[in-house]
Structures are given as C-alpha cells and as structure tokens.
C-alpha cells in the first residue's frame, strides 16, 4: 500500500503552474511533504493556497508542472489519489438536510467502506470530535464549530493517508478555534497520518513541523517554524517616540540595522537580546521615548520581513464576514 519512495516524500510538487485567464494564481512552485508530518501553507488570502490544494486533491486541473501523491500521478490516477486523501474544505461541504450520521454514512458509501466497519468507524470519529450525542440531529441545527468538527470526522472516516485542512478555523470564534486545534494535535498523536493545512492565522501554523510561506503564487520560504523565526535577528522592539526620524538615525548608529515604520506611528526593529539592550537604549536615547515594548518574533514578523507587508488579518476577516453574511442571505 505504501508507494512512497526511499525519501519518504508523500507529496511531490514540481514547477506547478495554474493560470486563470492569463493570471498566474500558482506561479511555478516546488515542494514536497514528508510522510507523517504536519505541513503548513501560510500566506494571505489569494496567495494560491487553496488553488494548490485543489490541484493536489484532483478538483482542479493544472496548467503545467508535476504533482504526485503517494506515488500516484495527479493527472492520470485521480481515483487512486481520491482514495487516500481526506478533505476539510475552506467552506462547509456538508448536506445540512441530513443528520451527522447520514452525512458519514453517505461518505462511507462513496468510499466503499463495508457497512459493519462503517458503523464502528462512524462512532469512533464522532467520539473523537465529541459529537456522539448529536449524531442524529440534522446538520442544519449545528453551529459553525460543530460543522467543522463533523467535517474533520468525515475526512478521517476512510482512514486517509493524508488529511487536507484548508483554513480549518476560518470564521470561527477564538474559543472554537482552539478546540479545533486541540483535535488536530490529538489526531497527530494518535494516528499515523500526514496533515497538510493552510491558514492565514500566523500563530495557528506554529504546530506544523514545516511551513511553506506562500505569497502571490510563489513559495518565498520553507522551513521549520523555529528556523523561520531564527531568520529574524533576535527580539522585536516597538517604540513610540517624539521624533521618529531622529530616533531611526540613532538606532542605525548603535545597532547597524534599519528601523521600519509600524502601526500607530510606532517604529520597529530587531535586536539580539532585548533585556540588556532596552535599559541602555532608554538611557542614551537622543529623543524622548513614550512607550517601548519587546517580544519574541512570530511568523507574522517573518512574513513582514520577507515581503514588507503584513498578512493583514483584519482585512481578511472583514471580507470573510461579508461572505458569511452573503451565504446566510442565500440560505434564508
């Protein structure tokens, strides 16, 4: 059953390109996913994350490039690939006129799981996401978080080798988001499964073994979260002062690095060890400092460092809200 070569790569993508009417949504990306790891795609909305996933999972045809999954070619062996992947899509894909159990039953039939095994497994996956008590309720009556949990359960029902989670926490409140991540962490501990996830929430991708940062259809960095953060030289310091221009000159003089403008009229820069740096810095500063803060770098800083832009979660979530509202309008 295991068609993975000696290098343990379960997914291999080479020079993948996808054009939509001349626009390159995916622009020649190359990467591989190692068996049993959690691999993350991190990037702003519209970066090409979902497009890439849709190509790997056989929903979208590619313009050019090579994609193999578990040794199967995505262009020629679609059904073999479909058999060994589980999907949790960005938007809900449940039949809300059916109950949770019926949704799982439907899925089991499509994946040709024998009936007696199907029953057992439905209980198992529902139990895992704590939905056993609601299994006979129509999905219509579920909250957003419950729907997402049910989708994760459904994605696991046929014991896929790889589980794709496309923005698994999009549109959910923070508490529910944490719960979803707890399930994912639990899952990786209890099963031999490769997880491929995407997110534009930086902090959420920290649980990944490796992360590819993707922007404008290109992979701009690929490494472990720690290594990515190490590319930033130490701690991030944010300062509000009376004269930023003068202060910037001073910072360059003592640290040798450039300070950048940040939000709310603040400036930011990086130093190796903030606990020693800050007292000295305040004492010798040529301008009055109104506020100063230091923190460890996050993946957001890595993205900012690489692209000069923030991932801008506020904008993304505003757009999600509008979309959710639109979907609600269609439904009622």
């Amino acid at each position: 059953m295991n068609n993975v070569g000696a290098n343990n790569n379960i997914i291999e993508v080479k020079n993948l390109v996808k054009e939509f009417k001349g626009l390159k949504a995916v622009d020649g990306i190359t990467f591989s996913v190692i068996e049993d790891e959690i691999f993350g795609f991190l990037g702003p909305n519209g970066a090409g994350k979902t497009t890439t996933i849709n190509i790997i999972c056989t929903l979208l045809s590619k313009t050019s490039g090579e994609v193999t999954l578990n040794g199967y070619n995505v262009a020629r062996e679609r059904n073999k690939i479909r058999n060994c992947i589980g999907m949790v899509f960005q938007d809900p894909s449940l039949d809300d006129r059916l109950t949770a159990l019926e949704n799982l039953h439907f899925h089991g039939l499509l994946y040709n799981i024998p009936r007696r095994i199907l029953k057992e497994r439905s209980e198992e996956v529902l139990d895992m996401v704590n939905l056993s008590s609601r299994k006979n309720n129509l999905v219509m009556t579920y909250s957003g978080g419950m729907k997402r949990r049910l989708e994760i359960a459904r994605g696991l029902l046929h014991y896929p080798k790889i589980l794709f989670l496309d923005e698994p926490t999009l549109g959910l409140d923070p508490q529910t988001r944490n719960k979803i991540w707890d399930y994912i962490i639990k899952l990786r501990k209890s099963k031999n499964i490769t997880i491929f996830l995407t997110s534009h929430y930086m902090e959420e991708t920290e649980i990944c073994d490796r992360i590819a940062i993707i922007d404008k259809g290109k992979i701009i960095a690929l490494d472990t979260p720690d290594n990515l953060k190490k590319t930033i030289g130490g701690d991030i310091i944010t300062i509000l002062s009376e004269d930023n221009i003068k202060l910037k000159e001073y910072i360059k003089e003592i640290t040798g690095s450039e300070a950048h403008n940040a939000k709310e009229g603040k400036i930011r820069f990086e130093v190796k060890d903030s606990s020693i740096f800050i007292p000295k810095f305040i004492k010798n500063s040529p301008v009055r400092i109104l506020s100063i803060s230091a923190r460890k770098p996050t993946l957001n800083d890595v993205f900012l460092d690489l692209t000069g832009r923030e991932i801008r979660e506020e904008n993304a979530s505003a757009r999600d809200n509008i979309r959710n509202r639109m979907m609600g309008r269609i439904r009622h």
């Binding site: 449940l94 039949d95 006129r97 899925h107 499509l110």
Partner: protein, 256 residues
C-alpha cells in the same frame, strides 16, 4: 465496477432521502398540477360553451395526460438542477473528491431525479377516476415506463445546464426561457395538430411533445388525438435520452 454502482446508488439515495424529508416541497409540488387540472382546465372547458363549442368534458380528458407530463417535466428538471444548489453550498465538492467517476455521479443524479418525477407523476395519475378515465394496471405501468424516459431526458438536460450554469440567478432565467416554452409547445394544454404552423414545427423538435403524445396515446387510446405512432414516440424518446445523457455526462466531467 461494484464500487461505481455503489456510487450511483449513494448519489440516488441522497436525492430520495432529501425528497421525502422535504414535506413542504412534496405538498407544493402537487399544488401546481392540481391547480392546472381542476381550476385552469375546468375553467377553459366550461368556456367552450360560451364560444359556441361543445366538448368541454373531452378537453379535460385531453389535458389530463398533459398535466401528468408537466409534473414529470418540472420535477425532474428541478431535481437535476439541484447540482447548482449543491455547488453553491459546497456539497458538490464532497462528491467530486470522492473516488468514483463523474459518470457514476451523473447516472446517480439522473436516476434520482427520474425516480422522484415518476413518483409524483404516478400520484397525479391516481386522480384519473375523478375524470372518469379508466386506468388499468397495464396502462399504469406503460405510463410509468414513458414517464421514466421523459424524466431521464429532462434530468439529463438539467445536468447539462447545471454543468454550464453556475449561478442561482441564471437558473431563474432558464426556467422562464426554456422550461415554460417547452411546456407550452409540448401539446400538454392544446392539440398541436390543429394549431398554427410555426407552433407545430417547433413542437417537432421538442422532446417533451413526443413524451406527452405517448402518454396520451396510452392513457386515452383515442386515434384522433394521436400525433405520431407510439413506436415513433418511444424511439425518439430513447434516442434523445441517450444523446442528452452522454452530453450531460461529458459536460459535467469537463467542469473544473
């Protein structure tokens, strides 16, 4: 092969489950044919005497097979167009990413829409005693067979359109510009052989008119009202069903 058959069965089963769970839809779907038959039909039939003609009772009998056909037309079309709905709400992706062929999905949808349409048509057929039209078991099963062919043709058309049309708005437009003309020019409401020339010509390329003609032949067995021989109706229906199903299957598989 067994896997594909299971796939067909699964897609079919979902349509059936959704149907019987949707009680308002079931009740609503009987309202239209009953309204047509007993309000519009009775009204037109009684107006005959006003304009100096007779045969009001005959008109109601004439209209009855047409209303059965109408039920099959609308039910199967809307069932197939539920693909547009599934796309809008994401469920289509769950089916598309499953390890079954696109053809199995299409066949499952065709059979689902047809089963529901046949069921609804059969219920309307049960109103025949009210019009004093005798329906024997043999006639009932013959009509059921014709309903199946009509439903398959219309479902396949629905799938073809659903593969091309992506929005709910366009769906409304289709209803007005395709479905209603098909219905009016099918001979369901008035005889096509005594109407103006262009209508007669257009009705010849309308697959529904062969279906309605076949049903009328079987139910009423009145040679005066018959347009084509029964065998021709059946041959046309089977050919169109095959052609449109294949086209629908190709179009559905092609979409990204």
């Amino acid at each position: 092969m067994k896997k594909e058959l299971t796939g067909v069965y699964t897609v079919w089963l979902r349509d059936i489950k959704r149907y019987y769970r949707d009680k308002p839809r079931i009740i609503g779907s009987f309202a239209q044919p009953i309204l047509f038959l007993f309000v519009l039909g009775t009204g037109i039939a009684s107006s005959f005497s006003t304009f100096g003609g007779g045969g009001g009772k005959d008109f109601l009998n004439f209209m009855f097979p047409g209303i059965v056909g109408m039920t099959v037309l609308f039910t199967s079309f809307f069932s197939a167009m539920s693909i547009v709905w599934d796309r809008e709400f994401g469920f289509l992706r769950e089916i598309l990413v499953a390890p079954i062929s696109r053809t199995s999905i299409v066949v499952g949808k065709l059979l689902g829409g047809s089963s529901i349409a046949m069921f609804q048509g059969a219920i309307i057929l049960l109103f025949s005693p009210l019009l004093k039209i005798p329906i024997t078991f043999v006639i009932f099963f013959k009509v059921l067979g014709i309903m199946f062919l009509v439903a398959m043709t219309i479902s396949a058309m629905g799938i073809m359109l659903a593969s091309v049309i992506k929005s709910m708005q366009a769906f409304q437009v289709i209803t007005n510009f395709l479905l209603m003309p098909m219905f009016f020019l099918s001979g369901a409401l008035f005889p096509l052989n005594s109407t103006v020339k262009w209508m007669n010509v257009v009705s010849k390329i309308n697959p529904l008119s062969y279906g309605i003609d076949a049903m009328r032949t079987v139910i009423l067995n009145n040679p005066v009202l018959q347009l084509y021989p029964l065998w021709l109706d059946i041959v046309v229906l089977i050919s169109v069903t095959i052609i449109v199903s294949v086209l629908g299957s190709i179009l559905f598989s092609r979409q990204d």
